[in-house]
């Protein structure tokens, strides 16, 4: 099989331009972030931060300084509230499982939405198999959760509510402050968790202001290294660990801390936040250029998710009718544009993206969807290139579809 992949890679030789827009699924690490990390692999701070020697103390210092920075960007009361994990998936698992383990004697109900990431949805399903009742709040066709249903659903049995601040696929910015208030009004003991991975560094997000108890953030979604994320847990909120072992500086995650990745996460955060307004303006400009360019140049397309200020500044998600998504990702890749699709063809089973079907997209619309995210480092030239390549790709594939699909 790896032979096949070598051939696939060979087919990409000689590309004149490359644009990586699949930030949802992984990202590149910019040179300045990498540079900040490098000394921590072999020159300093390579010790275990809980041990009594210089490389250990250096690691301790580096981790605490990184946590301090991130705590500042999140609006935490103190750096102890930032718990590093190996990523968004692990932080979401920790939030859901850690809370339900801690509070299982107080109630057995959790509330999420229909469009949460799989690291929330699948954990909720696992809890449902183990005696918890799970309510999934529906969303409207822009992905906003039904607040009336939320009010009806939270009760004395509810121990946790988990809603993303920004939806990872369609960029819907939820009114997370209002959601938190509704949950707390109905049950002050219920904890509120938000996956803020697509909010952190992209929209104003402050844990004090929103009032959430827990928030997940991810490094690679802001162009930090993969393999590191964090769970904010408000001071005074107790949740259980879901892994056991040697506990070091991270009281909720055992094992040896990965200092270089944590340093990289903090550096990426700094680059995102020290020019926050400028970065957001830049992303919005490119996002609009991409959306307007596609809608203007290509017929029979649908924007998935809300428009304008209700949408994350980096998110572009568009369905191309009569054009299958997986085929489109390959066609684009062969032309140097890297994106992902909500098509079932990229998955093991026939179901396309649960987010797109939850907002009322028909299967055939979801199959032809493409997700792209722009970053502070993309350029207008990048977007122009995408707008040059994409119409041709869609046209060729629609030619193969021919009269097969009649809308």
């Amino acid at each position: 099989m790896v032979e096949n992949v070598r051939e696939l890679l060979k087919a990409h030789e000689g590309l004149k331009h490359e644009v990586y827009l699949d930030i949802e699924n992984s990202s590149f690490v910019p040179a300045d972030v990498l540079e900040a990390m490098l000394p921590y692999f072999n020159q300093r701070a390579y010790g275990n931060p809980t041990l009594t020697h210089k490389p250990g103390w250096e690691a301790f210092e580096a981790i605490m300084e990184s946590a301090q920075k991130i705590a500042g960007y999140l609006g935490c009361k103190n750096l102890e509230e930032v718990n590093f994990t190996p990523g968004e998936t692990e932080a979401n698992n920790l939030a859901l499982l850690g809370t339900t383990l801690q509070m299982r004697s107080k109630g057995k109900k959790i509330v999420i939405s229909e469009i949460e990431p799989l690291s929330v949805v699948h954990v909720a399903e696992m809890l449902a198999k183990n005696g918890f009742s799970v309510v999934k709040i529906p969303v409207n066709n822009e992905g906003f959760i039904n607040l009336e249903k939320l009010k009806e659903s939270v009760d004395r049995e509810t121990v946790l509510a988990s809603f993303s601040t920004v939806n990872h696929e369609i960029g819907t910015i939820q009114p997370i402050k209002e959601i938190t208030r509704i949950v707390k009004d109905k049950n002050p003991n219920a904890l509120v968790h938000t996956d803020a991975s697509d909010a952190y560094g992209k929209i104003p997000f402050n844990v004090q202001e929103t009032g959430v108890d827990m928030a997940t953030i991810s490094s690679y979604k802001i162009l930090g290294p993969r393999g590191v994320g964090a769970l904010y847990v408000r001071e005074g909120v107790n949740i259980e660990r879901i892994l056991e072992g040697q506990i070091g500086t991270q009281k909720l995650w055992p094992g040896v801390e990965n200092t270089p990745l944590i340093v990289g996460f903090a550096k990426a955060s700094k680059l995102m936040f020290e020019k926050f307004e400028e970065n957001v303006r830049h992303m919005k400009k490119l996002r609009n250029m991409l959306i307007e360019g596609i809608m203007g140049k290509i017929p029979d397309v649908r924007l998935n998710g809300p428009k304008g200020e209700k949408r994350a500044p980096d998110n572009v998600n568009i369905s191309f009718l009569r054009c299958e998504g997986e085929a489109l990702t390959i066609e684009l890749s062969l032309n140097g544009v890297y994106v992902s699709s909500g098509s079932a063809c990229t998955r093991r089973i026939l179901q396309p993206s649960h987010v797109l079907t939850a907002i009322g997209r028909r299967f055939e619309e979801a199959h032809g969807s493409i997700l792209m995210k722009v970053t502070r480092l993309h350029t207008e030239e990048d977007i122009k290139y995408v707008l040059e390549v994409l119409p041709k790709a869609v046209e060729r594939l629609r030619g193969i579809t021919g009269s097969t699909v009649v809308e």
Partner: protein, 170 residues
């Protein structure tokens, strides 16, 4: 709902980039469809068949992934000049081999292509009011699978619609 790496073969990539016998055939003797847009996989075959029951020409249209396009393309190449009796015997496994192997999650693409071909052959004899001895009454594996995939997609699509109605327990 997990994703899998898809190390497509060189042959699949080649046929994806340059599919053979693409497009609707206006003077086709018969055509048949398998899959539907809900599955994200749909193939139409057009066959021109002469009075000796030999396929003179076959073309296709495909709404689907790279494997879908490649397997459809290879079927059209393979059946050209074949007697329908021989075309009937083509199995999805041989199609999978011809495209240099299919990843396990893409077996259904080969199955769908063969399913569509066999539907076209059945449609042809139905149209002629004939029933050759070699043509089985019962649906073959590939035809059943195509039907199952279509049914499953319909059920899932329906399930999604009812799920929109309100909050529910998992």
């Amino acid at each position: 709902m997990s994703r899998v790496p898809l190390p497509y073969s060189q042959k699949i990539l080649e046929l994806f980039r340059n599919p053979k016998n693409l497009g609707k055939m206006e003077d086709a003797t018969v055509s048949a469809v398998a899959g539907n847009p809900q599955c994200g996989d749909m193939i139409t075959f057009y066959l021109k068949i002469n009075d000796q029951d030999v396929v003179e020409k076959a073309t296709f249209e495909s709404y689907g992934c790279a494997a879908n396009i490649a397997t459809s393309s290879i079927v059209t190449e393979k059946v050209r000049g074949m007697k329908l009796e021989d075309a009937w015997k083509i199995s999805w496994k041989s199609i999978a081999e011809d495209v240099g192997g299919l990843p396990a999650v893409k077996f259904h693409c080969g199955i769908l292509a063969v399913g569509a071909l066999r539907r076209a052959i059945r449609a042809y004899y139905k149209m002629k009011g004939q029933k050759p001895e070699w043509l089985p009454e019962e649906l073959t594996f590939e035809e059943k699978q195509a039907l199952e995939e279509e049914e499953l997609a319909k059920i899932l699509a329906k399930k999604m619609k009812t799920a929109e109605e309100g909050s529910k327990n998992v």
